[in-house]
């Protein structure tokens, strides 16, 4: 039953990806003939759709994992402060006009910022030989406040217009997607998804609690640590690909639980697909609605996703809280 639904989900995601490539401000035929159409298709749209797909996948999957390891249905990939750290270092790069790695500079700074922040949260959340959900959560929230505040401070004391532009990057921008970013994005996102999917049983057990997980034959601390690493990789890669996109990490796992149940072995891949599909649609709308103006994709994800989630919430017990 859930296998059938999974296949449907895969098919729908593929369809959406194809639509996103060929639709847009103008429809480009798959048999594009003119040079401009080819250019737009291969250099602009394909990388952009792939980046949207990867980011959405990373956010959806890491949301599903994080809600499990933190045992908190309100957790999302940004709550650990990883994204705030990434944004801060990216903003420093943008404002400081750093270009030592060419167009890679800002994404790489963001990724390093994410990993460093993940490391700090990990150290803060570590006690008695393991990561503790509440400690992680509070360390993440605290760090995220600190970094947001530093970012705001930079914004308010800077007289530089560049900073305002940096904000646009931080708060989700897919327009700069280009081929060179895809291999490393793909690598980190896939490592994260595979790592977490292979630990999905342990994740299920961790959701019941560390004592259950132990009783079911897992080493809860080690499993939580591995899953935490996978979240760090996925979130870091996602922020570095295109800034912060809200909603997906928090609510896609809940929507997917409604369709496919809560078993993480299904939920992680399903949340990845659902997140990827949603971000592709949102980006398609954001660039097609008022061309040549582009709207922020993160706003669209929430505008189409949130009402649907609220509808589900009214209809069924999506959350067991």
């Amino acid at each position: 039953m859930s296998q059938v639904r999974m296949l449907v989900l895969i098919a729908v995601t593929l369809l959406i990806v194809l639509c996103s490539v060929f639709l847009g401000p103008r429809i480009v035929s798959p048999m594009a003939t003119t040079d401009i159409d080819k250019e737009i298709l291969f250099s602009i749209r394909l990388p952009r759709v792939l980046v949207a797909l990867l980011m959405g996948m990373a956010l959806g999957a890491s949301g599903a994992v994080l809600q499990g390891i933190l045992r908190n249905p309100l957790a999302d990939p940004y709550i650990l402060g990883i994204s705030s750290g990434a944004s801060l270092s990216a903003a420093l790069g943008i404002i400081g006009g750093l270009t030592f790695l060419g167009t890679f500079t800002v994404p790489m700074l963001a990724f390093c910022g994410a990993l460093v922040t993940g490391g700090i949260v990990g150290v803060m959340g570590w006690k008695r030989g393991g990561l503790w959900p509440d400690r992680l959560l509070l360390a993440g929230v605290g760090l995220s406040f600190l970094f947001s505040a530093l970012l705001m401070l930079m914004m308010s004391i800077s007289t530089d217009e560049g900073l305002r532009r940096a904000m646009l990057w931080i708060f989700g921008d897919l327009s700069m997607s280009e081929w060179p970013r895809i291999p490393y994005g793909l690598a980190f996102v896939m490592i994260g998804i595979l790592l977490s999917t292979t630990r999905a049983k342990a994740l299920n057990a961790l959701i019941l609690g560390d004592e259950f997980a132990h009783s079911l034959g897992f080493a809860p601390r080690r499993e939580r640590f591995i899953l935490f690493i996978s979240v760090g990789l996925m979130t870091g890669a996602s922020v570095s690909l295109g800034g912060m996109i809200g909603f997906i990490g928090l609510l896609i796992p809940h929507i997917m639980r409604f369709f496919l149940g809560s078993d993480s072995r299904m939920l992680i891949p399903a949340s990845a697909l659902g997140g990827g599909a949603l971000l592709c649609i949102a980006d398609l709308i954001s660039r097609s609605l008022l061309p040549p103006l582009e709207l922020p994709a993160g706003v669209i994800t929430a505008i189409i996703g949130a009402p649907y989630f609220l509808y589900l919430l009214r209809r069924k017990d999506v959350l067991s809280i």
Binding site: G24, P25, R26, D35, I36, E39, I40, S43, I44, R45, N72, L74, Y78, I79, S84, G97, T99, G102, T103, V106, L137, L138, V141, S144, F145, S148, A149, L151, M152, M155, S156, T159, D160, E161, G162, R164, R165, M167, L168, W169, F171, D173, S175, M176, E178, M244, G246, R287, L290, P291, P292, L293, E294, L295, P296, G298, V299
Partner: protein
């Protein structure tokens, strides 16, 4: 749990607060329309016979105009954005354009506070008036409004002759550039398609309602972003490619190496005529402010179009 939930929600608020950059832009426009409709910012709250001794300027373009009118020595306070001319940087700062400090302004005991509808909050002007501080609010927002705006300011500050002279000079400068271009434009039936990039990543260009747009129209060019919905739209790269600009201009952001940070976008636009034919110009920031430097900005623009 409840605590964590509260923290969480608070965190969201903080995080979302700076997000709607475009919304701020929209709000600004709405405010300006509202200001005009309600006639709140009727320009002069008091006519003054001799030049005021103590002037506070709440906008960089107004600061520049004040200096051009020879009132530089009378300026006692400026915003943190006022960086031209060089002396302006040394003046006491009263905060930003959208968030000036009331206390700082009042403590400078200004004879008049010069403001603009383009960026200063109307509530601030109301507060100042309620404290019986004289204000002048400029409504000039388009290139064509500038000479009249300067004349009105001159009346308000009691430097009518100097203001008229400056306004005449600017009006003449604008007319000359336009005339020159009209002569250059051959054939005039095919205007050059121009994309004026304000920020390369993400691509933000100068759209309708900006001085840049007016200047391009004046020189009979075609601003590709003229039909976009906002003043500074985040622009679709694929539309930019499709629209095939003949000339790309890249404005200056202070403290930035624009050539270095524009490499990426120029690579992505490699197929458009402007990049292929090397018609990419790195501009100054003269056209970002509706002040005396617009003439220089228009000359720069027309130089690039040659």
């Amino acid at each position: 749990m409840k605590k964590i939930l509260t923290l969480f929600i608070h965190d969201r608020l903080i995080r979302f607060y700076p997000r709607p950059d475009n919304v701020i832009e929209h709000m600004k426009n709405l405010f300006i329309i509202a200001a005009l409709v309600l006639g709140i910012s009727t320009s002069i709250s008091a006519e003054i016979a001799s030049p005021p001794k103590r002037i506070v300027s709440l906008a960089p373009n107004m600061t520049e105009i004040l200096y051009a009118l020879g009132l530089g020595d009378n300026i006692v306070g400026v915003t943190s954005f006022c960086d031209y001319p060089e002396e302006a940087k040394k003046k006491p700062k009263i905060g930003g354009m959208s968030d000036p400090s009331l206390e700082a302004v009042v403590s400078l005991k200004p004879d008049i506070v010069v403001m603009t509808t383009d960026g200063n909050p109307k509530e601030f002007e109301e507060r100042l008036r309620s404290l019986e501080v004289h204000t002048y609010v400029s409504q000039a927002r388009r290139l064509a409004d500038l000479p009249r705006g300067i004349r009105e300011l001159g009346v308000a500050l009691g430097v009518r002759e100097r203001a008229d002279a400056l306004a005449d000079k600017i009006a003449a400068g604008i007319r000359n550039s336009a005339g020159q271009k009209a002569a250059l434009a051959s054939p005039p039936s095919t205007p050059k398609k121009i994309l004026f990039i304000v920020w390369p990543e993400p691509l933000i260009v100068a759209g309708p309602g900006t001085v840049i747009n007016d200047a391009i129209a004046l020189l009979r060019g075609e601003n590709l972003a003229a039909t976009a919905k906002t003043q500074y739209p985040k622009y679709s790269i694929e539309e930019a490619i499709r629209q095939a600009p003949d000339v790309i201009m890249i404005g200056k952001a202070s403290g930035m190496d624009m050539q270095a940070i524009s490499n990426g976008i120029l690579q992505r636009l490699a197929t458009v005529p402007a990049v292929k034919n090397g018609k990419v110009c790195f501009m100054g920031d003269s056209l970002y402010r509706l002040g005396p430097r617009v003439v220089k900005g228009i000359e720069e623009l027309s130089e690039c179009l040659k």
